[in-house]
Amino acid sequence: MIHVSNLTKKYGQNTAVDDISFEIQQGEIVGYLGPNGAGKSTTLKMLVGLLQPTSGEITVAGYNAETELLELKRHIGYVPEEAQLYEHLTLVEHLQLIGRLYHLEERLIEKKIKDLARLFEMEAQANQRISGFSQGMRQKCIIMSALLHNPDVLFLDEPFTNLDVGTVTLMKTLLQRLADLGKTILYCTHILEVAETLCPRIMIINSGNLVADAPVEELRQQTNQRALNEIFTQLTDTTGIDEKTEEAVRIVTEDTPDA
């Protein structure tokens, strides 16, 4: 369902994503992990056609990202890292716009908006402007937009940010069920606990390079570590935590040096 071959993204001299390749089959949920600035969001943006890769090839749902971008976009749902919305539209207006841009039927749009608003407990805010929404409500709005047109592939970039516990639980089970129905999900996060429970397969990116791509069990055997956070620490070379903690304490508690 997702095929990535020798994907590279450079910003001037800086290489954000360095020659990565992977394949994800239909119905898979894959966790895409990495430290801050490792290249997770950049990869996702290239996969959904927001950024042009410097080199490499991307195929999603059978469509090439370079030559069939519009068709590709019709088959995907995307939850970005930062919620970008029309602030002065109401929730209903925003979702109507998104639904119409995907050329969905009017009756279907109306029904879906009602059902999704009920599911995410947003009925009371349905006709309120987004500018007055909390961060959590905005995130719900983004998720609803991504699910509205029943996409074949879901790209989720930190989708649970600012969500309450109830919604997170709902989302976890919903994603699981969608995968069972054949939807492909690439879940990008740096919260390891959620990735461990939700994703049977984990990919880890570090400094633009793919350093691991295997089921969680296999990663445990490869690294001789039990917990995912230990595996992550080992693979991303995040060592010396104790020394760093000591240094952090010293910096925070430091007084003004004597003249």
Binding site: L50, Q84, H88, A126
Partner: protein, 562 residues
């Protein structure tokens, strides 16, 4: 009950057909255009400030401005070429002032919201182009409709039976000149330049617009000086004509003359060449950038999405010159913000450079004694009273200061305001003082010093008296400039319709300067002592009011922050 907007609006079928012909999606085009309009309208709803009506007021202002030109044929014997030249030059000047607004209109501010949906870059580009074109047409109509009708009454020796066709000839050509201006600015200063791969090329292209910012106002002054004032000798008049032939406004005016058959036999070839230049350059400057933009718009959209992080990495925050002068840390923060903005917003720098270039150009041009004379600037009727010098000094000075203050007030960097809210600043409203200080230190002081040098060259040590009233006016303009609504600089929400206010600043500052200098002149005509009295009152009173407003602002700020 779910309340949303209707999916279809009656009408606009023709436009949608054209959109489909151009390979875009008519449904998506209609939806996005409607959404952009709705979002803009709602952003301004319920706000009781002038910005709500700024766009309409700008068009009314353009319409009123055009009345002056329309009355010209009734007051002076004027030929078609001069009349068309004035109208077209006016259109071009206003067009240049409007360009930053049009550039913003074309910038895909809301694009990230729908970037992942199946909307083609061509569809989105046509939405932005429609917004831009509707404003351009409205601006050109409000500016040229009356002069087009007024042209019927042109009285000159070369009047022809075609004079009644003047509106039908003039309007399309004035529109063409408007599109030419936009084409020039898009090529040299618009966002197209952001895509140029070589930095040197980008810089050259962006600074090339200085020529246009300087040339058109200079031409307007020259026309007024040589063609309107009756005491100009014929030989000087003819020599000055050569200037206009070399400039684009001259090409379009010649086209109007040619179309109405108002050319002397010897000038037919020249006018034909100029008409060819006008038509060819407009087609070239409109079609080539349009083709390039539509082809590269997806690249630009991608550039926009990734430029955020790129720009952040490139931004160097430096402590500006003079920052250490301010002991109050909040004022210092405001000064740093103001100067950082001035550095980042190249438009302000360009305006400053264009004004300096324009001033030097004017002084240099008038210094060529065989053709021009310095009289226009140098004429002094009393100590401290030189109408030409004062209007030049005040007009440009107020315009520069106003543009800077306005740009900061309505800047789109409001997203950075949260940092200022978090910082333990003793009084956030004091930040605005830092911005005022930046305007004073980086705009008013250098501009005043430059004009002081010119004044001292003309009038020796007495030159100080020619500069003093202007300086006092600048100080008061800064002290009285309205603070941002949310008390922080860089904190206002960006709304497209507010941007046309930028057109007002240069125009109103010129009107204000002319009125003030007019009053000064009137007091001089009444009696010399009346002039000295008025001069002293304005200087001393201006200084007192500046100090008063500064203290009053401080008091209000402390009350509000408490």
């Amino acid at each position: 009950m779910l309340k949303g907007f209707k999916s279809r609006v009656p009408g606009d079928k023709l436009r949608e057909k054209i959109v489909a012909m151009l390979g875009a999606s008519p449904t998506q085009y209609r939806l996005l255009l409607k959404t952009e309009k709705l979002v803009d309208k709602r952003a301004l709803a319920g706000k009781n400030d002038l910005s709500n009506t700024m766009l309409a007021a700008t068009h009314v202002f353009c319409f009123i401005t055009s009345i002056g030109l329309t009355l010209m044929p009734f007051l002076f014997p004027m030929d078609t070429f001069t009349y068309a030249l004035m109208g077209i030059t006016m259109s071009m000047i206003i067009g240049l002032w409007t360009m930053p607004y049009l550039d913003i209109l074309l910038t895909p501010i809301n694009y990230p919201v729908i970037a992942h949906t199946p909307v083609s870059s061509r569809t989105y580009f046509l939405v932005k182009l429609t917004q831009l074109m509707s404003h351009v047409v409205l601006w050109l109509v409000s500016l040229n409709l009356l002069p087009a009708i007024g042209g019927i009454w042109l009285r000159s020796s070369e009047s022809s039976q075609f004079q009644f066709f003047f509106p039908f000839v003039y309007l399309p050509i004035a529109f063409m000149s408007g599109f030419f201006t936009i084409g020039v600015m898009t090529t040299f200063a618009g966002y197209l330049t952001k895509l140029y791969s070589k930095k040197t090329l980008r810089n050259i292209a962006q600074y090339a617009q200085l020529i246009f910012f300087s040339v058109f106002p200079a031409v307007m002054v020259l026309i007024l000086y040589y063609r309107i004032l009756p005491a100009i000798p014929k030989d000087k008049l003819i020599s000055s004509l050569k200037w206009f032939d070399a400039l684009p406004n001259g090409w379009f005016a010649a086209t109007v003359s040619l179309a109405l058959g108002q050319i002397e036999r010897s000038n037919i070839v020249r006018n034909l060449i100029l008409t060819g230049l006008a038509v060819a350059s407009t087609l070239f400057l409109v079609l080539v950038p349009l083709r390039d933009i539509s082809k590269s718009y997806s690249k630009y959209l991608s550039h926009l999405l990734e430029s955020g992080s790129e720009q952040k990495s490139k931004l160097r925050v430096k402590t500006p010159l003079f920052a250490r002068m301010f002991r109050n840390p909040t004022v210092r923060v405001g000064l740093c913000l103001g100067s950082a903005y001035m550095y980042r917003d190249k438009q302000i720098l360009r305006q400053l450079l264009a004004s300096l270039g324009f001033t030097f150009g004017m002084v240099f041009a008038f210094a060529q004694d065989n053709i021009f004379s310095l009289k226009w600037i140098q004429d002094s009727v009393n100590i401290g009273l030189s109408p030409g010098f004062s209007i030049l000094f005040w007009g440009i000075g107020i315009s520069l200061t106003g543009c800077f203050i306005l740009a900061i007030r309505y800047s789109e960097h409001y997203k950075a305001s949260w940092m200022l809210k978090l910082a333990p600043l003793q009084a956030p409203r004091v930040l605005w003082r830092g911005v005022q200080a930046a305007a004073l230190l980086y705009i008013v002081v250098p501009w005043t010093l430059l004009m002081l040098c010119i004044a001292i060259t003309f009038w020796g040590i007495l030159g100080i008296f020619y500069v003093l009233p202007g300086l006092i006016v600048f100080l008061n303009v800064i002290a009285l400039s309205p603070k941002p609504r949310y008390s922080l600089p860089l904190a206002e929400e960006f709304v497209q319709k507010r941007m046309p206010s930028a057109i007002w600043v240069p125009s109103l500052s010129n009107i204000f300067s002319s009125v003030f200098v007019g009053i000064q002149f009137l007091t001089h005509v009444i009696h010399t002592s009346a002039y000295y009295g008025f001069y002293s009152i304005t200087v001393v009173g201006g200084l007192i009011s500046f100090i008063y407003f500064l203290k009053e602002n401080k008091r209000v700020e402390e009350t509000v922050d408490a």
